[in-house]
């Protein structure tokens, strides 16, 4: 039996280890198109901030780890999948047979449709290669414009700031991290950034980038053109499914999978950023976050070795550190129709909690400035605990979520 995994990110690596743990005999092969040891994109901000060296981004630090696990590695690109003959066409000109295949190819950044995004010194921040480009240009005092204040944008903002650059953030939405934070929290984060010396332009679009004598010119709407030595683009990502076009694998917003992470084609599974699976709250979606990448990878791998495992649906969860202001969001923080909501804002201490309920279940929440016991929100949401009397307590004081969790554990 040969298990082949395409993609050497967190999903691919965790799947390979899970396969090996439950199947000592089969061949496990990990294919990836990025050079060097398997690494974690999530660690890139800490590399930019000079807090770690490149080795610090590696997913596994023991350089003999994959060898010892008898996981083969191949550095090449998969160009096409032929599901009928169960073969992959590789960029190095060869074909490869598989018995079971896992697609864990992640996602790639999307260019905004404007003139000038392909100019030198305009970069995404998605791969180690991107990080090296950014580090070449983002020196102390250089003028850097960050396009997009979504989750990824905000994460690299801190790293850029720590490099000592003069930073301007331009976001088309009306607040920062619009898909993770409500108006209150988004505005608090914005004010915090401004206080830390970052220029923040929300409800603003960059319409064109032009080369100039001293750096790049960025045309904005509304607003005056601005100059930059470096532009970092963080305006969204899309799953890497291009190589599947002729394969018959059903694609929605990503590779469509069932609760066992199986695609529409026999013996082909998908996990991580590239897959579109069930969402915790019902419906389907692409949940491009690290914890769900590894959890879906484990489920896929278990099923690949014939151990039935079910994915109960991906719960959105994010934690963000914006220059020391820590924010967390879970699940349906935006609430559902007819559901109760409780929130508490303490402007003096910069703390904010908002909880959302459906009946007496917790279904989502937001915290700002809180680092203690935040995981209990996940416990409360995903155990579908009837809160009983704690619903009332939490409505009165939503900061008591850890007590609610502790008191409801049998």
């Amino acid at each position: 039996m040969r298990h082949v995994i395409v993609g050497r990110g967190p999903a691919g690596v965790v799947a390979a280890e899970t396969l090996r743990a439950h199947d000592r005999a089969s061949e496990v092969l990990l294919i990836g198109d990025e050079p060097g040891p398997a690494y974690s994109r999530m660690a890139i901000p800490y590399l930019l901030a000079r807090q770690i060296r490149e080795e610090g981004t590696w997913l596994r630090h023991d350089t003999t780890h994959f060898e010892r696990q008898r996981v083969g590695q191949l550095e090449t690109r998969v160009e096409a999948l032929n599901a009928e003959s169960k073969t992959l066409a590789l960029a190095n000109g060869t074909t490869l047979d598989y018995d079971r295949l896992l697609l864990a190819t992640g996602s790639s950044p999307v260019d905004p449709p404007i003139e000038g995004v392909d100019l030198p010194r305009v970069h995404h921040c998605w791969t180690l290669e991107d990080a090296h480009h950014i580090m070449e240009s983002a020196e102390a005092g250089s003028r850097v414009v960050l396009m997009g204040a979504g989750f990824i944008g905000c994460i690299i903002m801190e790293a850029l700031k720590l490099r000592g650059v003069r930073l301007t953030v331009v976001e088309a939405g009306d607040r920062m991290v619009p898909r993770m934070m409500d108006q209150v929290a988004g505005n608090l984060i914005k004010q915090w950034c401004i206080d830390q010396g970052i220029e923040v332009c929300t409800s603003t679009r960059i319409t064109r980038i032009e080369p100039g004598d001293e750096g790049l010119w960025l045309h904005c709407e509304p607003g005056e053109p601005m100059q930059a030595d470096l532009v970092v683009v963080a305006t969204g990502v899309r799953p890497n499914v291009g190589f599947l076009q002729e394969s018959g694998v059903e694609i929605g917003n990503g590779i469509r999978v069932d609760a066992h992470q199986r695609s529409s084609v026999d013996d082909v599974y998908a996990a991580g950023d590239v897959c579109e699976g069930a969402s915790w709250q019902g419906g389907r979606g692409v949940h491009a976050i690290q914890p769900m990448a590894v959890e879906t990878a484990r489920v896929a791998a278990l099923n690949m070795v014939g151990r039935e495992a079910t994915h109960v649906g991906s719960l959105d969860m994010n934690v963000l550190d914006t220059l020391g202001l820590i924010s967390v969001s879970y699940g349906q923080w935006m609430g559902v129709e007819g559901g109760d909501s409780a929130s508490l804002l303490d402007e003096r201490s910069g703390r904010y909690v908002k909880l959302r309920f459906d009946g007496d279940h917790l279904i989502g929440g937001i915290t700002l400035g809180i680092t203690e016991h935040v995981g209990a929100l996940r416990g409360l949401i995903q155990s579908r605990r009837h809160l009983g009397v704690w619903k009332k307590h939490l409505m009165e004081n939503p900061t008591r979520f850890m007590e609610a969790w502790v008191s409801t554990v049998p």
Binding site: V14, M42, G56, E308, T310, G375, L377, R384, E403, V409
Partner: protein, 157 residues
């Protein structure tokens, strides 16, 4: 079979000796704010519940860590943070459904219980034996894990 912390809330008087001992063990100061074990007080019921990491077998925090900074101690089975590898991303703090991995601002790293290498200071300090370090997987852990297992996205059929 690893030993584990057994917690009996009925015996807890809320004296916070465990928190003090934990803080001293790790930080060299008696300050409950630095403790990895927390005693929760439910005034209305007059109940005190000590609470800390259950050292799950398939640990959410460990799986979620992007840089392999959470390792299993071979002797105790404890999931330990390797501070030299931890980048402080806090993903483990939101992945753990028990809420027992916490971020420490001053250090820029996360903190969690590591069973003090096999001689937990909280159990030593507890005057009423509400916290004991016992042979075998304590049944209470099992219950808690079973409870949290309902959060597991990989529930086995």
């Amino acid at each position: 079979m690893y030993r584990s912390l057994s917690i009996d809330p009925d015996k807890c008087t809320g004296c916070l000796q465990c928190e003090m001992a934990c803080s001293y063990e790790y930080e060299g100061v008696f300050n409950p704010a630095h403790s990895r074990i927390k005693v929760f007080t439910f005034h209305q019921e007059g109940r005190f519940v000590p609470y800390t990491c259950t050292q799950c077998a398939d640990a959410w925090c460990q799986h979620a860590c992007p840089v392999d900074a959470i390792r299993v101690d071979a002797e105790t089975g404890a999931k330990e943070i390797k501070e030299n590898l931890c980048v402080g991303c806090k993903v483990c703090t939101i992945a753990c459904p028990f809420g027992t991995v916490n971020y420490n601002h001053d250090r820029g790293k996360v903190l969690k219980c590591d069973l003090c290498g096999g001689d937990p200071a909280c159990a030593r300090a507890c005057p009423t034996q509400a916290i004991t370090y016992v042979d075998g997987d304590w049944a209470g852990y099992e219950k808690m894990r079973a409870w949290a297992a309902r959060t597991d996205n990989a529930t086995h059929a």
